[in-house]
Amino acid sequence: MIFARHLGARVWILVAVLVAAAILVPAANLWLPASHPLHVPNYLVPLLGKYVCYALLALALDLVWGYVGILSLGHGAFFALGGYAMGMYLMRQIGGRGVYGNPLLPDFMVFLNWKELPWYWYGFDHFAFAALMVLLVPGLLAFVFGYFAFRSRVTGVYLSIITQAMTYALLLAFFRNDMGFGGNNGLTDFKDILGFPIAARSTRAALFAASCAALVAGVLVVGAVTRSKLGKLMIAVRDAESRTRFLGWRAEHVKLFAFTLSAVMAGVAGALYVPQVGIINPGEFAPVNSIEVVIWAAVGGRGTLLGPVIGALLVNWGKSYFTAAWPEGWLFMLGGLFVVVTLLLPRGIVGTFDHGWDALRLRRRARLAERGGSSGATDAVPNPAE
């Protein structure tokens, strides 16, 4: 990447902004009086938290799409699986407070006349186990899926199609009542998380801060990975896969690593998303959701750390604003946005900015060299061969 060189400072600015947000937004919500101009209204905290989770999901997609060139159209599946793992924990926390008052079985199981808890619901009453599953389930699915796909050298549009098929298959599976995940309605009516009431202002503020912390961790992990030698190898696989093979690298292992790590990150994003929106249902597996993630990353700029974060925040803010101000127009705007970005800003916002900045610097240096006379000063200008 052209901009990989001056990436360091910006990442730290992003981290600083996120840390500041994690502290200031809850503070402004909890401790400033409602009349204060800087007061953050209650509805905004979980909304912002949702955006931050989306940003983490977009960053996860960027790791595989922007850096390894795998256009996954099924990342929503990993997000939803992480969400379901968290949802199962939250369901078990309801205990006897459900509508039917069954201390063991969630309401939808009582409704379906189930007599005992299915085996795969065991353990989810412990937060630690659920947290482990949040990482493990999406990671394992991505590992198995990626192992077969990358070993068979499925690439490009074919890979995109099978990732899309994967999330669609999961959508259909989770719609079924006998899967034991609440069918069409999904999991909802959550009461508390780690003993704190889930709808309380302080809990929501804490969840927002946790989402910011997760995004910071995600940015740092992706930053560290992409700047390592392995990260360079990822970009090499993206640009010239066969070259890496003939150099002795196993391109499929590189892809598998990135895909699995990315799925784990998406799972974490989903797990933080569910307690803030209060529901997880099979709709989260909808192919359209995964495609939207691609748009966020494309708008922000793939192959950058900042791009997907900025893209996810901007597009989702736009979505919230316009679905309220002009509900019937939003889908047209989303489609139009994708067309505009593809045609006019193929590098996305961050990528275009970087590119323009680089070109400007090159031109300024060339001008300086010209002014300095022809005596050897031309050495300072990198050869703009093409």
């Binding site: 030698k229 190898l233 640009d239 093979r245 196993r250």
Partner: protein, 319 residues
């Protein structure tokens, strides 16, 4: 062979399903059938020959011995292709091709378009599996059983016809990714640059005359410099055998000469197979030449001899 057949017949008889108990008795009690001749008896006073099982390993012993004899002949070669055939949708890209490259040799391969030069490289590097024929590296490694990454790890490096470098990386990073060493993904994740690595990169930069361009993106190099960078990446890989596909395509005369010099330098320490159309360049290399035509070897020998061959003139050099 009659004895072998007899033995296998007996085994078959013993294993015929006749119920459990009778077959057990027939094993423990029934001796060899005297009418069929005793398979354990020796011949001319030699110790008894062991019963040969019907397993292919035993029955095809003769074939195996012949193969071993062939193996002894190929043991000293670096690259050994015998009777290799590969067709794509009925078109025989490679047709019964046999080629031997000795250790330390530099070989130039010429031939008209479609002669199978690139397909041959694909077969050697594991990108394409041959339909039949043998491909051995270092005398005893069957290359048809391995994939690209494994073959690269054994020490075969390849330069593509179209220069293929990592365009969004700097020249240095291109070389760093090519440097021989661990190919483990986790090690790459925790890799640290160290002094020996820097030194080797310096050496290769000097050899390929790219020192001044080290911080440039490979995308910004000229065509000739990209070709050199790719050759440099091959060197970084430190292979035993370099396969170089059209290294001077699109180069100026001066660059062509430089490249010939570079390849001659490289051939001091490595074996090299060069595919090239440019006869001046091949002449400048001054090595044994193989001319391919329609997927098999048409002529082989010093350039003067090959270029005087009327068949070579007919199909390639033109009248």
């Amino acid at each position: 062979m009659t004895m072998v057949e007899e033995a296998s017949r007996q085994i078959r008889v013993l294993h015929e399903p006749q119920g459990y108990a009778p077959s057990l008795t027939s094993i423990s009690l029934a001796g060899p059938d005297p009418a069929a001749g005793d398979p354990d008896a020796g011949e001319n006073g030699w110790p008894p020959r062991p019963v040969v099982s019907p397993h292919p390993w035993a029955t095809e012993r003769a074939a195996r011995l012949a193969a071993e004899g062939k193996g002894r002949r190929r043991r000293d070669t670096l690259l050994y292709l015998d009777g290799v055939t590969k067709s794509f949708d009925g078109f025989k890209a490679i047709n019964n091709l046999s080629l031997v490259v000795e250790r330390g040799e530099m070989r130039a391969i010429i031939g008209p378009n479609g002669a199978g030069k690139t397909t041959m490289m694909d077969i050697i590097t594991g990108k394409t599996r041959p339909d039949k024929g043998e491909v051995f590296f270092g005398g005893d490694v069957d290359l048809t059983q391995h994939d690209e990454a494994e073959i690269a790890g054994m020490g075969i490096g390849r330069k593509f016809q179209k220069p293929t470098v990592f365009e969004s990386h700097t020249v240095e990073d291109n070389l760093r990714l090519a440097l021989s060493g661990s190919r483990s993904i986790l090690r790459a994740l925790f890799h640290r640059k160290d002094a020996p690595e820097r030194q080797r990169i310096e050496e290769i930069l000097a050899l390929t005359r790219l020192e001044a361009k080290r911080k440039m993106l490979a995308a910004d190099l000229s065509h000739g410099q990209k070709q050199w960078l790719e050759i440099g990446m091959l060197l970084a890989q430190d292979p035993e055998l370099l396969l170089v596909d059209e290294p001077v395509a699109g180069m100026t005369d001066a660059e062509t000469e430089e490249t010939a010099r570079l390849l001659r330098d490289i051939s001091q320490k490595h074996s090299v197979v060069v595919v090239e159309h440019d006869m001046h360049f091949v002449r400048a290399l001054g090595v044994k030449v193989t001319c391919l035509h329609e997927g098999s070897v048409l002529a082989e020998g010093p350039l003067d001899q090959v270029s005087a061959d009327p068949r070579v003139v007919e199909v390639y050099l033109g009248r």
